[in-house]
């Protein structure tokens, strides 16, 4: 594992030396380290680049680290990772991707993750994206997540992209069976001429299924963001999506909700609020001694926490 990878790992997965857990480190499309544990098996795919992560039924409280790093320009990384989470398991998956580039050419990481979460299983999925380095080549991260949640399964996705990624198109798709729940918390900050697109489609097909999706984002400079969420209620279910965005400078944010109910007992809600930082918030922090600029930073830091 090279130094850049190690630095990126610290940012995207709070890396602190080899963890006492299952892990797989992807470095410039290769593998820089892997370990399976008694309950969690990690294997390379035979036909495609990527891995299969298999969590045995009933596995409790274990972690899996699967960070991906790109350490220079002109890399076009494509990976397919599949997660099989056995019945009743309860695990935390720390994903995340860092791209470091000091060159002129674009580097990209396309990660396609599929989750098959069995009955009653719980997954906490943590993902951080970051771009670093001084090169002019764009850093592009395009994650695709597809989740299938069986009866009473639970998935929480916490995703954060807080700097240095020039372009991102994020697609998340989920299908929820009876009693399954999905929670998504997305944090996004774009600046300069960055662009970010986030697209959710959640199908609530089982009775009593529920989705709760919260996106908080900040668009600075000339950056642009597009947020699209589509909730489909096929049964008595509940769905809530919320897009809360702060725009600064010449930032642009557009939010498009789509709610489709095929059942009278599907309760679907979308809320969107886009605007600049409230002036009174800045004023309040200034009365505590912060400068206007410090006040803005503090408000954004809290907002994206």
């Amino acid at each position: 594992m090279n130094q850049i990878t190690e630095d990126l790992l610290k940012i995207v997965s709070d890396w602190n030396g080899i963890p006492d857990a299952a892990y797989n480190i992807r470095e410039d499309s290769g593998c820089a380290g892997r370990r399976s544990t008694e309950h969690i098996q990690i294997d390379s795919k035979e036909d495609l680049p990527g891995i299969n992560i298999t969590v045995q039924p009933g596995t409790k409280g274990e972690m899996v680290y699967i960070p991906a790093c790109v350490t220079h320009s002109a890399v076009d990384d494509l990976v397919y990772n599949d997660f099989y989470i056995g019945e009743g398991a309860d695990v935390t998956i720390v994903a995340g991707c860092g791209i470091h580039s000091d060159g002129e050419e674009e580097s990209r990481h396309n990660g396609i993750h599929r989750f098959f979460i069995e009955k009653g299983a719980k997954v906490l999925y943590l993902e951080k994206h970051i771009g670093t380095g001084k090169g002019s080549g764009a850093r592009v991260i395009n994650p695709v997540t597809e989740a299938t949640l069986a009866e009473d399964a639970y998935m929480e996705m916490n995703t954060t992209q807080i700097g240095g990624v020039d372009s991102t198109v994020r697609k998340t798709k989920a299908t929820l069976q009876q009693g399954a729940k999905m929670v998504v918390k997305e944090k996004l900050l774009t600046e300069g001429t960055q662009r970010a697109e986030s697209d959710f489609v959640i199908n609530l097909i089982g009775e009593g299924s529920g989705a709760h999706l919260v996106s908080r984002s900040v668009a600075k400079g000339h950056s642009e963001q597009l947020f699209r969420s589509c909730l489909v209620g096929e049964a008595a279910c509940s769905g809530h999506s919320e897009c809360d965005a702060i725009i600064m400078d010449d930032g642009k944010v557009s939010a498009t909700p789509e709610l489709t109910a095929h059942n009278v007992d599907a309760a679907l809600i979308h809320e969107a609020a886009i605007g600049k930082i409230a002036g009174e918030q800045i004023t309040k922090l200034m009365t505590l001694g912060l400068t206007e600029h410090e006040a803005e930073e503090k408000i954004i830091e809290g907002f994206l926490r």
Binding site: Q281, T283, M286, L288, G289, I299, G302, F303, L304
Partner: protein, 243 residues
């Protein structure tokens, strides 16, 4: 310590309107002064002008001998002026402890943090990690606002209707807070209030109505004038709710 010289605040609201008209007021060191008067009289505007949130259209403000009229809010805060808003501001993602630490100007031990909350009658454990967002009730956020002002430990603290929205039990607590502030003479307090029990502990009462100071002095001297102005002061003992 604070000297307001011929302060006016004129707005163009259809025609010209003087929200404050030629206000002059001197407040000495370690004084406890209450400003009262009818709603719309210009009290909050005066507080904002002292803090630098609004600029007067005429006049001069001296603070500890220095002309601060042209200073920004941040600069005035650094000199030692604090302001507890009439309507506290809500934030998404900043917690009670974040705000109290910002107010104190440095990170605080948990014990000290809790001390400020206990002082305003809040059970610290329940509040310290809560977001100061829309989920707090009016009375809760008002007390947090006061805790922040206490944490600032400023030379001059302006409290804008600290009693508003606070229930009776907490109101007694609040009086104790001000009595303690006074006893320990933690700087000068300028309190905008309609509450008799707060007027009771004032060194001096200033009545502001229609943009003018219509009376100032001790309670006995001021009270009759106050009633003439039709102020909303509630002199019925025990009634804490106020419009």
């Amino acid at each position: 310590m604070l000297e307001l010289k011929h302060i006016s605040f004129r707005v163009e609201d259809g025609g010209n309107k003087d929200i404050l008209d030629d206000i002059s007021l001197t407040v000495g060191d370690n004084r406890f002064v209450v400003i009262t008067g009818p709603n719309g009289g210009g009290k909050s505007t005066l507080a904002k002008i002292i803090m630098g949130i609004e600029q007067p259209t005429a006049g001069q403000i001296l603070f500890e001998g220095q002309d601060i009229t042209a200073l920004s809010v941040t600069e005035r805060a650094a000199l030692g002026i604090a302001y507890a808003f009439q309507q506290p501001v809500r934030f998404k993602g900043l917690t009670v402890s974040d705000l109290i630490e910002l107010a104190a100007g440095h990170s605080l031990e948990r014990g000290d943090l809790c001390g400020y909350l206990t002082e305003v009658g809040l059970c610290a454990r329940d509040y310290i990690d809560r977001d100061v967002n829309a989920s707090l009730s009016g009375g809760e956020i008002k007390r947090i606002e006061i805790a922040m002002a206490l944490a600032r430990g400023a030379h001059l603290t302006v409290f804008d209707e600290p009693e508003a929205g606070i229930d009776l039990w907490s109101f007694n607590h609040l009086i104790a807070v001000f009595q303690k502030l006074r006893r320990e003479t933690r700087g000068t307090s300028l309190i905008i209030s309609h509450q008799e029990r707060i007027l009771d502990i004032a060194d001096e009462i200033v009545v502001l109505a229609g943009g003018h100071i219509v009376a100032r002095g001790h309670k006995e001297a001021v009270l009759p004038k106050l009633l003439e102005t039709g102020s909303s002061v509630n002199f019925c003992e025990g009634k804490a709710e106020q419009l």
